[in-house]
Amino acid sequence: MKLTISLLFVAAVALAQDRAGADRLMQAYQDRVLTESTSSLKTDDHISMYQTLVKAQPDVLHYQNLLAGAYIQKVRETVDFSYLERAHQVLQNVLSQDPKNYEAQRLRTEIALERHDFHAAAQYSETLTQQAPNDSWNWGTLGDAQTELGNYDKAADAYQKMMNIRPDLSSYNRAAYFRFLYGDVENGTKIMKMAIAAGSPMKENTAWCEVELGKMYLKTGKLKEAEDAFSSSLRNFANYHPALSGLAQVQASKHDWKSAIANMKRAQASVPMPDYAAALYDYYTALGDTKEAKKQKEMIEVIDQVGQAAQEKANRNIAIIFADHNWNPGRALELAQNELEVRGDVYTYDALAWALFKNKKYAEAGEAMKKATRLGTPEPAFYYHAGLIENSLGHKDEARELLKKALELNPAFDQAIATLKELS
């Protein structure tokens, strides 16, 4: 059996080190053994195990890297950025002792991505791809950074290299997303299913892909398939907040507000994302429960105030929420414009266009919207926003076509239905 024979080498190393001194190669054996023998544990167990190892052998930098990796996985699962800070400190410690430490450099790239420092992440990844051109990981982080920066050709090249080295859950889910970005829904969903089938011992990873699949279905009006994908994600990884949110959105599309509220509240209880509060505001408003709706609005305002206090300048999610609801259009525009300094992907241009529109800057909004729709991404909201902008520019026919396109993608898009009626 491949797995546990390698356990033998942990022992061999322990003995050999006393006699012949440490051998880098043999230390690497420990890595594999640890990774393989712990892959079925929960993330919290990983963290406490690696904490113990780090305490016991503080001079083994490798354990610190493993600990940092577990902290980053925890961020993925909880959006609790205090873990990112911990990971950062651990890696700083490793890199201060060994600036060339490969594993630590790889993880540093992930932290840069989580912190939305996409320029740095691209640069780190680029360097690492030169050092280790056969490590698919680095091509993945390079593609991720370039995608956020809106450099889609560079991203595609990096992702294709990642794929050619190793087709697996990581590379398939990126290829699927890329297909979707370029409007190829059929292959996007097909490849995302390949990612799910490829799987991962980390249940969250598979659940994440199922959420992505569900979102593709949701955006293209396939409510039943979306519901199945989100439900399957929840079976894989209980209480997973993006899956709960997805399920709530499916229910809201069917105007089942009570179920939608219940699921969205569970998502919110897990992670208080502003998007969840905004959705809850909408659902309560639809039900006529202005009191509960008001609470959610206040929550979003508090989130923004905290952001302002922390001197957060860019936040396209809040920009969209404010613009959607005509709350504080000035702040929406500020947040969206600043986001453009961080990244230049189609979603950022959509947020910018929408905020410009709400500030009555129609010509600029039209320009930004062109950049948002340049790939033909099947996002119903893009076409809804574009339709309203064209209407304001006096292009009624174009506006109607764009709204129809939004409804072609997602026939349950209430605002688009209402607006199209007004324009007809």
């Binding site: 546990t4 061999a12 003995l15 939305h116 982080t141 697996d168 990581s170 490829a198 809040i318």
Partner: protein, 479 residues
């Protein structure tokens, strides 16, 4: 009112979410790729009654399965192509001549429950098997560039994967009701099986992991402790794989299929006497961007993992080369000869730690087995009846086992491997204690079958979960 809530606590909770609340697409990056991982490969002349003209090949995947891993249990990955590669020409150069592919498909039947299997299942076609997997077998001849596809058995029944062994209520009489009915005969007369089984690998991993803290008399087995089979070498040795299941893919083919000229070989010196086999997993490349110039959306299959002989990656290939090795072809294994011919386990552990005298590098005895890395079978060696099989195979005069007569589930590849690395196949090194090494576990925790697919029925979830007692270890499976 939110504004009046004690701010500090609320803010602390929200602050971390909002700081980077503008999300980005943080796709997962894998440390481990379980579904494409292969564990062991077995190749042997069948010792089932009346089947001695057959050869069985089986591969195990996804090791250490907890039998009670409900509600979803383990399944084969729909995204993985599982392949047996066969080399019987050109003096076994590590290039495939035939390939037998297994491709799986999952059908999720309408499911009113949250579990994948429900109720007292009556057989392999029970609608209570909500997670229903089938497979296609593709038999390729690379010389003629032809392929045969088998989607059903000779009677038209779908090639279905055996369901897991849940326990006496859901899957009663497992082996008779679910195990053997999942053995299918194809229209060309071959038999195939895919599904969960007991892991036939056995090894005192716990003692070894505790810094080579072997349980006496291991690691030196003498006299009664060095049994052929049956009875533990050391009464306290523990099989770390006992009670766990693997996913097995098995195929039974005629000896004449494997021989180079299609006849039954009788002379071990002739070119048709030997064949080499390795297993591999593959996934398909997809292209990121569709373009008019390049209409191909789905490209070649890329090799993810391979297994030829036991212990290759663990004992012989340095870790930094592991991924590269897994992607490479046996035909190019000469590039690893510098590591395989000078194994650290022999020089660093057996010699360095235990002070054993081992042969000097380069170890041509090891290179002969591992380069190219395939399990080689001498088809002229008749199968040994189960009662006479020796766990040490050729080292104990039973030539129908690893490393010369293929590899059987009974073969104690750990002890054979320890001794071979200590040089017992080299003149002058077949001496004590080199020829007495062993981990102390001499046989599998449950009896192997005497018929295809030979691996024992899977441990049941019900028995594995019991609080008192054995976790199902060592208990007969399949009733």
């Amino acid at each position: 009112m939110f504004n009046t809530i004690r701010r500090t606590a609320a803010l602390a909770a929200i602050a971390s979410a909002t700081m980077f609340a503008a999300s980005h697409r943080n796709g997962p990056l894998l440390l481990d790729d379980q579904t494409a991982n292969l564990n062991d490969l077995y190749v042997f002349r069948s010792y089932e009654t009346g089947k001695s003209d057959k050869v069985v090949m089986s591969m195990s995947a996804q090791g250490f399965q907890n039998p009670d891993n409900g509600p979803s249990y383990y399944k084969f990955s729909d995204s993985v192509l599982y392949r047996f590669n066969i080399n019987n020409q050109r003096g076994l150069d590590g290039r495939p001549d035939y390939q037998i592919d297994f491709v799986f498909q999952t059908l999720l039947r309408p499911n009113p429950t949250f579990v994948s299997y429900f109720g007292a299942l009556k057989g392999i076609d029970d609608p209570g098997i909500f997670l229903y997997q089938t497979f296609v077998v593709v038999v390729r001849n690379l010389a003629t560039n032809t392929a045969q596809f088998f989607t059903t058995d000779a009677n038209g029944h779908a090639l279905s994967v055996a369901p897991p062994n849940l326990g006496p209520k859901s899957t009663p009489n497992y082996e008779a009701t679910f195990g053997q009915p999942s053995v299918f005969t194809l229209s060309n007369g071959w038999r195939v099986f895919a599904g969960p089984r007991d892991d036939a690998f056995f090894f005192d991993s716990g003692a070894t992991f505790d810094t080579l803290n072997f349980r006496a008399p291991a690691p030196i087995l003498t006299g009664a402790a060095d049994t052929d089979a049956g009875g533990a070498a050391s009464p306290t040795a523990v099989d770390g794989f006992a009670g766990y299941n693997i996913s097995l893919i098995a195929v039974e083919v005629p000896v004449t299929y494997l021989s180079a000229d299609g006849t039954t070989p009788t002379d071990p010196t002739k070119a048709n006497a030997k064949a080499g086999v390795w297993a591999s997993t593959h996934r398909q490349i997809v292209t990121l961007r569709p373009s008019p110039q390049d209409p191909i959306h789905y490209g070649n299959y890329v090799q993810i993992d391979r297994v030829g002989n036991p212990l290759t990656v663990e004992a012989l290939i340095p870790l930094p080369l592991k991924d590269f090795w897994n992607r490479s072809e046996p035909a190019n294994d000469q590039q690893f000869a510098q590591y395989i011919g000078n194994p650290f386990f022999a020089s660093g552990v057996l010699n360095g730690v235990f002070g054993l005298k081992v042969p000097p590098a380069p170890r041509n005895d090891i290179l002969g087995v591992y380069v190219p890395d395939m399990t080689k079978i001498d088809l002229t060696i008749a199968p040994t009846p189960i009662a006479s099989q020796k766990r040490l195979g050729p080292l104990a005069g039973d030539n129908a086992g690893w490393p010369f007569g293929g590899r059987r589930p009974i073969d104690d590849v750990v002890d054979i491997g320890f001794r071979a690395l200590a040089g017992v196949l080299v003149n002058g090194f077949g001496v004590a204690p080199n020829n007495q090494l062993g981990d102390g576990v001499n046989q599998n925790d449950v009896p192997l079958l005497t018929r295809f697919p030979f691996h024992a029925a899977p441990h049941s979830g019900y028995k594995h979960s019991q609080v008192e007692g054995t976790n199902g270890k060592g208990q007969p499976t399949g009733q």
